[in-house]
Structures are given as C-alpha cells and as structure tokens.
C-alpha cells in the first residue's frame, strides 16, 4: 500500500476499484488481437472430402474461399467425373468451412516457451549462482528435516527483517525471496519428506 491515508479512506470501500478494471483491460488486450485477427488467406479454408466413387479413388480438396463459396462445385477442381455425374459425385462429398488463427497459436506458444525458459533460468540461478552470491550464512544453509533448526532459523531471520525496515526495492525483493524460499521448503517437507499431503 503506497499511500496510507488514501488507503484508510478506501477501507470503507469493499474493493480497490482500480485492480479489477485493470485486469479486465489487460485480459481484453490479450484476447482482442486473436479475435480481431483479420482473415488472412493463411487462416481460412474450405475442405472437401470426396470418397471413392466407382473407379475414382478418394480425394481431399483444400481451397481458401469464403464461406458462401464453400461447396463442392467451387472447390473440387479439376472435377474428376463428367458433367452428368457431377451431381451424384457432389452428393457424396462433404465440404466444411474452417477457420483458425495462426497469430493466436504463435503468440501462445511463444509465451509458453518464454515462461518455461524463464523458470529454467531462475532455477539454474537459484541452484548454482545464488549460494555463491550470498554470504555463507548458517541461517540460510539448507537444513534437513530438523524442525528445531528450522524454527531457530526463522527466529533468527525475523529480527534481521524487523530491524532495518527494508526500504530499498532490492532489499524488499530479497526479503520477499527469502520468505518465498522458506515457504517452498516447508511445502517440500510436507509433500516429499513427511508425506503428509498429496501422496
């Protein structure tokens, strides 16, 4: 909370009005481009599947035409049967109009890969680089399954947090990171070591 006075004024209101609106705008921005993706030739097609007929083998025809033109006569080219058989042949064929959005697919895959990459980098950082940066501190060494030492560690960590109230962004980030690491360690103990949950 950045402004305590304003915050106190808004304690009467049951919601911070900005956040849900902001979230809606963000979601709209994410969803709009796919919705508005112009129907480029890449993204539409009319697919006609024609089964084997007499001595003609089955065939699949693709053409990017609009929805009103999506029928056997427009799409099946060259027509494999002579003129008087066309109607019988076209009755067997099934034509479907399909749309997709390549932009959506590209954006989503790239978002996913970047998140996975970021997580991997962060994990590598935590495992390799972090122990070297921090001063080898007995309170931050990973301890194994010792509840007492866990408690003393959190006890020791607390005064250091309470003391100089973290004002710089970096120290605040570090404090949050320490808390998060403790949390993950606690969860790991519950799930993996003590098998108390999620077996």
């Amino acid at each position: 909370v950045l402004f305590p006075q304003a915050h106190r004024m808004f304690t009467q209101s049951s919601q911070n009005p900005a956040s849900p609106v902001l979230l809606l705008v963000l979601l709209g921005c994410v969803l709009c481009p796919p919705a508005q993706a112009s129907k480029s030739s890449e993204d539409i097609r009319c697919k006609c599947i024609c089964p084997p007929y007499r001595n003609i083998s089955g065939h699949i025809y693709n053409k990017n035409v609009s929805q009103k033109d999506c029928n056997c006569l427009h799409v099946v080219e060259p027509m494999p049967v002579p003129g008087n058989d066309v109607e019988a042949y076209c009755l067997l064929c099934e034509c479907k109009y399909e749309e997709r959005s390549t932009t959506t697919i590209k954006v989503i895959i790239i978002i996913y890969l970047s998140v996975v990459g970021a997580l991997l980098l962060y994990m590598a950082f935590l495992v390799l680089v972090d122990p070297l940066i921090r001063k080898p501190d007995p309170y931050t060494q990973p301890l194994h399954n010792e509840e007492d030492t866990e408690d003393t560690r959190s006890l020791a960590a607390v005064p250091s947090l309470a003391g100089g109230r973290a004002n710089t962004v970096l120290e605040r980030v570090e404090g949050a990171q320490q808390r998060w690491k403790r949390q993950v360690q606690e969860q790991r103990k519950t799930v993996f070591d003590r098998h108390k949950m999620l077996s």
Binding site: P4, E42, P52, M123, L126, D151, V184, F192
Partner: protein, 805 residues
C-alpha cells in the same frame, strides 16, 4: 500439529510471510504478500467485526474495540469456524446496508458490494478460459513435438502444419511441411533405422518433458503435483492449506500440466484444470475485501471456480456446475448455483473464442451422430456398466495400495527417479502400438467416431459395397483386415492402459484421471461394439437380431458403445452420477443417448459400490488423513457424547481459563503447556459454569499486542473476560480486558446426547468443536478430530490415520 513454542508466537508459522512484529496501521508493503497473509493489516472497519464475539453491541470502551490484525484469522492446517464466518458476513452486510442510507457514496458502495460477486465470477471465467486455451494449444503442440517438427513454422502442430496443403485420402497425415525426426536427421522416413531413430527421439522427448515437469514441481511449488481434487474437496469443507491455491502453484501447475500431458504419460488434464481454476478464484478473491477477509464466502467462490474448471475441460457448463455440486463442494447454497453457472459459461465462451481446436468446438472429441439405438442393446450397455464398475473398484484398490506404498516405504524417497522410470516404461511400451502412441484424447476421439464413407482410418476399414450410393448412413458391413488388426492392437492398448494408469496417478506431476478412465472404457466399448456389429452382420437370422436388424440396415453403432463404455468406466472410478451423464450428453449433443448412458452409469456405480464404498477422491482423502467429515454417510452407532468427549475418565481434567481470576502469566503458562486450539472460559474452577470459548490464536495475538502497546500490562495483570471486572486495590497493575475475543455462544450438548445427533450437528453447521455439559456444568469438549477418529474407530479403521488438527 507441530509443537510451536509460545515465545515465537504460534501464528508465526514458517508458512507466514509477513513481518509479525510490525506496528499495525503504518504502511506495509503487501506487494509480495502470499495468497493469504495470516495477519490482515486493514485497521479500518467495523466495530462489530469482533474476532469471536457474536455480540455486535459491545459497550466496552476498551482498547481492543477495533479488531487487532490477526484476530479472526486461522493457522495453517486448521479448520475454519463456519458459524463465525457466516455471522461476520451478516454483520458486515448489515453495516453496509445501514450506512447506505447516509450518503450517496455509501449507497454506491453498497451497490458495488452487491455487484462485486458477479464481477468476480466474470473475472474468474475469463482467466480460467484463457489459461485453458493456453494449456490446450501448448499441449497439442508439445505432444506432436515428440514425433516431428513443422518446417513452415515451429509453433504449428501436425494438424495445423498440414492445414493448407493437399493430403491424400488414405494418408491424411502426410504433407511435405511436416518432417518426422528421422526425416529431418536422416533425410528419409522409411526403413528400420528410421523407425529406431523415431522411437529413440520419442522416448528422449518424453523423458525430457517429464523430468522437467517434476523438477519444476519440486523446485518451485511442491503443492502442484497430483490431481488436486481431493485437497480441494477438503479445503471446501473448511480446511486451510496455505499456499495450495497460490500464485506460484498456479503458474507451476499450468506449465507442468502441459509438460506431463505431452510426455505421453497415461494421465489427463481435467482434475488439474479444476485446481488451476480454483487457484484463479483464490487469487482473484484478493481484489475484493468481501471475499478476501471471509473464509466462508471465499469457499463459495471456489465452488464456482471449480465449476468453471470442469466446464472448460469438457466444454460442458451444466455438467461443470453439477460436478461442483456433487463431487467437490461441501456446502452449496442456492445462490452459488446461479453464479457457478455464470462463471462456467463465461469460461466456456472465452475458451471458444480462443478456438484451440480450430473448429469452434471446446473439446477434441465432440461427436455428432444421431443414429438410433434399440432396446435390446441395453444388454451390452449393462455389460459395459458392469465392466466399468469392476474396473473402477480394481483401479481404486490397486492405486491406493500403490500410493500407500509410496507414502510409507523407501519408494517415496525418490520421486524424480520414479517419474523417470514410469515415463521410460510408458514411452517404451507406447511407441510400437499406434493406438498408444497417439495422445489419449485423439484416441478417444477416434473411438467415438462413427465410421462413414469419408473415413479411411484402419478402424473403419470395412468391406465396402461400391454400388450403394448412400451417404453416411452406411449399413453394417463385414470387417476388413484393417479392423481385425485394429482390434487386437486396441486390446493390447487396453491392457497396457489398465495397468500403467495405476502407477501414474498420484506421481509427483500434475495428473488427472478422467481421460485415462474414459480411454479404457472407450476401448472396451468399441471392442464390444464391433463384436456386436459383426455378430449382427454374420448372424442376422438369429432371433435376437431378426426383429430389428435386417441386412442392409444400420443398426449397431460401435461409436455409441465406446461412449457408453467411457461413461461406465468414469462412473466406476469417480462414482459420479448426474454430472457424468450430463457431461457425456453435453459432449455428444445427443438427447437420444441419455438412457443408455444412465443405464451404464447406474450399473457401474452399483457394481463398484458393492465392492468398495469410496470413490477415488474419497479414498485419497482417507489415505492422506485429511480431516474431511463425509457428508453422505449415515452414522449408525449408538454411542453417546460422553464416550467421545475429552477428557476421558483417566485423563487430567479439562484445561479451562477462568473469567477474571487468572493473570497474564497464568494464561501464558496454560497456552504454552498445552497445544489445544481453544479454551473454554468458566466462571470459576469450583463452579465450572460456562461463559464462553476463546481461541488460542486470538489469545496469543491479543496478549502479545497488549504487552507491547498497552500501558501497565505486566505478567501479574489480571485478564478479565467480562464486562464488569472485579475492583482491584489501586496498587495492582491494570486489568487486561479481552471480552472482545471471547465467543459468548459456543455450541453445547449434554453428555447424554447420542453421537448421531452430534455428528449431524458437526456436519450441518460446520463446527470445529462442541462443548459437553452435564447438569449445566462444563464436563468436556468434542472436536472435529475426535469425531473423525470415533467414526474411523467405529468403522474398524485406524483412528491414528487422522492427521492434522
């Protein structure tokens, strides 16, 4: 519960992440707050918002008129007090309504408060739908990545890669832009060496994906493994698990779900999608004070979010709501029904607009056939139901045995290795058989498909009569060689899936259960359907077939048998009833098939219930020892409250606090020496007449706060829980008044009350504890854990398996 010493303050559990010793009221940085900071900093408020006091009209001018931060919140792994939360919400609502008459701002505030629930549902639907779209598209792409890559753009999966190019009728998979790995590396795709190379790449990719998944889970969010539905059921019944529905769990679960599904393991994504949707719900609750501060209201939102999760998994909004009602939620007020439906619809609509499958459908296996079925076909459908029930019971027993072994023996010490071995076995066994090589959703889609002349897959290789000019309504035909090959390959796939799923469900990656069960059922159904079809074709003169199945007619639809089989197996495992039928019929859009689906679902539930009472989720709840009070079973023993209450006959007497004779030091001593989560307050030790009940957490927070803030509070100060404290000589230290944290209306029963009624009270009201009196005097206490242990004892189970408080 962990023994935590007093001096550190019991609320300072390792899962808390806020600085406990901060002076309330000053600006504190919440930007790094976790999902549910144990201390709530907002000082503003409603003076009737007392921690435990049910009375809103406290006339005391004491220091604690405004609620202290932390009072009224719960510790991790504790049960909430439903009654208290509901009455707090009613108080809050009353306050807002009364104030709305004062000014326009207050009126607007009351309107926005009423509207906030709907806005929250809208946001949950949007977020859940977007995440489901991301999961679907990424999982599709990564599954195909095991087999090859698209040269026209690496982000296209196989189907989208070949979208634009002309494929042949018989070989719809081949197009020049898509290169399998052997084609990419060797330059050609034929031959033994290419096959071995493809095999090798498949296994390597599968191992990489699953290892990455388990490492991410272990490193960042250990709560993200498993299905999530048993834990969500427990949370919705009133349990608190901090961090289970948090931001990191959400991110890791989404990412690793895609990885786990793509690695070819025999698991699905429906259960984890429910967890993802509930995480979204929990995170978005923090935007609205009404839901952030009140645990009971939050659980209503979580019920609606679970409905949205199932809705996007199956494309079945109504089925999602019914699933939430039947399987997941504990208390489902009628108001939640309409809101859940809204959230489910918004989520389904969002997913549809992202269009992950390119055909405006929500699920990969949406089928649309409408061929009728005959009454005599109910016999094979019931057979499928029996198979589903048998398989369900078998699966539950073996899975629980395996999970118990994982929990208690050394197997559980090597989670990463376990995932590695299971993935290796699955990939090695799956590649040779084309029906296990394709993703399970594609398999189900192919099995549900009814064969017409436009299909050219192996399963549809019937002997065709080219002279007929019918369209899709083909008569029953003789099976060609392709069908026979497909049959034994499917039989092998069935055996493999039946056994490998037992070891996969419950591993330390996100794993769901719906798709593998549906696959087992669909394979069994299709086998039976093709067998029936061939029987009807070759023996159309038998008495049972001659009436309705003349040659040349389309009587038997194997696709329908696959559907019914899938419903039967899913029902046998999860014991769903209405929600299952609604989901299946929303998947197919066919009202005609409700009767077969219901017949199969009912049969499978009866058969499975005859063998084992619990569904898979209840069995996991019991395995993990969660304090979940089963709402569906009757308690039918003749015990009484005095048999269950504590203290028992030979135990030390009940630990009580007197209303105005104990000092701060005495109370601290009581709190330190015992680990109870609450203490009754009595008039005096001699009379043992009940005044109220005070919670341990509130007591600790108030005393610590008073020691720091209030003048004159020392160890010898008297603590007074009443309105009018006894007068003290002027030289004694000032009195600490803690009336506001006292719950003045605890529930009591007499010692002769039958346990049936006590269990009923606990279920219906959501109590944590209940005091037992005898002739008006306090005798003992019954907690929820005591009730659970008693039920377990009565059912001859191990009462010590009830963990957690």
């Amino acid at each position: 519960m962990d023994q935590k010493g007093y001096r550190r303050g019991s609320f300072q559990s390792a899962t808390s992440d806020e600085d406990m010793l901060e002076i309330p009221g000053t600006s504190v940085d919440f930007s790094m707050a976790d999902d549910d900071p144990p201390l709530d900093r907002e000082m503003g408020g409603f003076s009737s918002y007392n921690g435990g006091g049910m009375n809103g009209t406290s006339t005391m001018m004491d220091f604690l008129e405004e609620p202290l931060p932390g009072v009224g919140t719960y510790e991790d792994f504790n049960t909430i007090d439903w009654v208290r939360e509901k009455s707090r919400d009613r108080d809050r609502h009353r306050e807002i309504t009364n104030r709305s008459k004062e000014s326009t701002w207050a009126l607007l505030h009351s309107v926005s408060d009423a509207f906030s629930g709907w806005l929250l549902m809208l946001l949950i639907g949007l977020l859940a739908g977007s995440l489901a779209g991301l999961i679907d598209i990424s999982a599709h792409w990564m599954t195909d990545l095991k087999e090859g890559v698209c040269l026209a753009g690496f982000w296209f999966n196989h189907e989208h890669c070949c979208w634009k190019s002309n494929t042949t009728f018989t070989d719809r998979d081949k197009c020049p832009e898509w290169k399998s790995w052997s084609q990419l590396i060797l330059g050609h795709g034929e031959g033994a060496f290419a096959y071995i190379l493809n095999y090798f790449m498949y296994v390597i990719w599968a191992l990489m994906f699953s290892l990455l998944a388990v490492l991410l889970v272990k490193g960042f969010a250990p709560y993200a493994c498993g299905s999530g539905i048993p834990e969500i059921k427990t949370i919705l019944s009133g349990f608190i698990i901090r961090g289970y529905l948090g931001k990191w769990t959400l991110v890791i679960k989404t990412i690793t779900l895609v990885l786990a599904v793509s690695s070819g393991l025999s698991l699905g994504k429906e259960g984890p999608l429910v967890h993802v949707a509930c995480c979204c719900g929990n995170i978005l609750c923090h935007l609205f004070t009404k839901y952030r501060k009140n645990e009971a209201k939050r659980r209503e939102v979580l019920s609606a979010a679970a409905a949205a999760g199932v809705s996007v998994a199956f494309g079945a909004p109504i089925g999602g709501v019914l699933f939430s009602l039947e399987e997941v939620s504990y208390y489902f007020p009628l108001k939640t029904l309409w809101r859940s439906f809204f959230a489910a619809l918004v989520a389904a609509f969002t997913l549809r607009s992202i269009n992950p499958f390119g055909n405006s459908r929500l699920v990969l296996f949406y089928v649309e056939f409408h061929t009728p079925w005959h009454l005599l076909e109910l016999v094979p459908f019931i057979l499928l139901g029996i198979f589903g029930g048998l398989w369900g019971a078998f699966f539950i027993r073996s899975n629980i045995a395996w999970c118990r072994r994982r929990k208690t023996t050394r197997l559980g010490k090597y989670p990463v290795l376990e995932v590695f071995v299971v993935t290796a076995i699955t990939a090695l066994l799956a590649f040779p058989n084309e029906y296990t090589r394709m993703s399970t959703s594609e398999l189900i889609s192919e099995l549900f498909n009814d064969c017409g002349i436009l299909d050219s897959s192996k399963l549809c290789e019937y002997v065709n009569d080219f002279n007929s000019t019918k369209g899709d309504d083909l008569p029953d035909r003789a099976a060609g060689p392709g069908v026979y090959t497909a049959m034994w390959q499917l039989a092998l796939a069935l055996i493999m899936k039946v056994f490998i799923t037992i070891f996969t469900f419950g591993m330390k990656v996100p794993s769901g259960l719906f798709i593998p069960s549906m696959a087992v059922g669909a394979i069994a159904g299709r086998l039976l359907g093709v067998a029936m079809e061939q029987l009807a074709f070759y023996h159309h003169d038998w008495a049972i077939f001659s009436g309705w199945c003349s040659p040349g007619a389309d009587c038997i639809t194997p696709g329908l048998y696959a559907m019914v089989g899938a419903a039967a197996c899913l029902g046998g495992v999860t014991r769903m009833t209405v929600s299952l039928v609604v989901i299946m019929f929303e998947l197919t859009g066919g009202l005609e098939y409700i009767v077969p689906l219901m017949a199969a679902a009912m049969t499978s539930k009866w058969v499975a219930d005859a063998i084992g009472r619990e569904g898979i989720y209840d069995a996991h709840i019991r395995l993990n020892g969660y304090p979940f009070l089963e709402a569906k079973e009757e308690f039918s023993h003749k015990t009484r409250a005095m048999d269950v209450m504590r203290p028992r006959k030979n135990d030390p007497p009940l630990t009580v606090i007197t209303q105005d004779t104990m000092t701060v030091e005495d109370v601290e001593g009581v709190v330190t020496s015992t680990t109870y989560s609450g203490y009754p307050v009595v008039v005096s030790r001699a009379s043992q007449r009940l005044v109220g009940f005070v919670l341990r957490r509130d007591l600790i927070i108030s005393i610590e706060n008073a020691r720091k803030k209030q003048d004159g509070i020392v160890s010898t100060s008297i603590i007074c829980f009443t309105d009018y404290c006894p007068p003290l000589p002027p030289s004694s230290p000032s009195v600490l008044k803690l009336r506001s944290i006292l719950d003045l209306s605890p529930f009591t029963v007499t010692d002769e009350t039958p346990m049936e009624i006590v269990v009923d009270i606990f279920r219906k009201l959501g109590l944590r504890q209940c005091l037992v009196t005898h002739n008006g005097k306090l005798l003992g206490i019954i907690t929820k854990k005591d009730v659970l242990k008693h039920i377990a004892q009565m059912a001859n189970q191990d009462p010590d398996s009830i963990l957690f408080n």
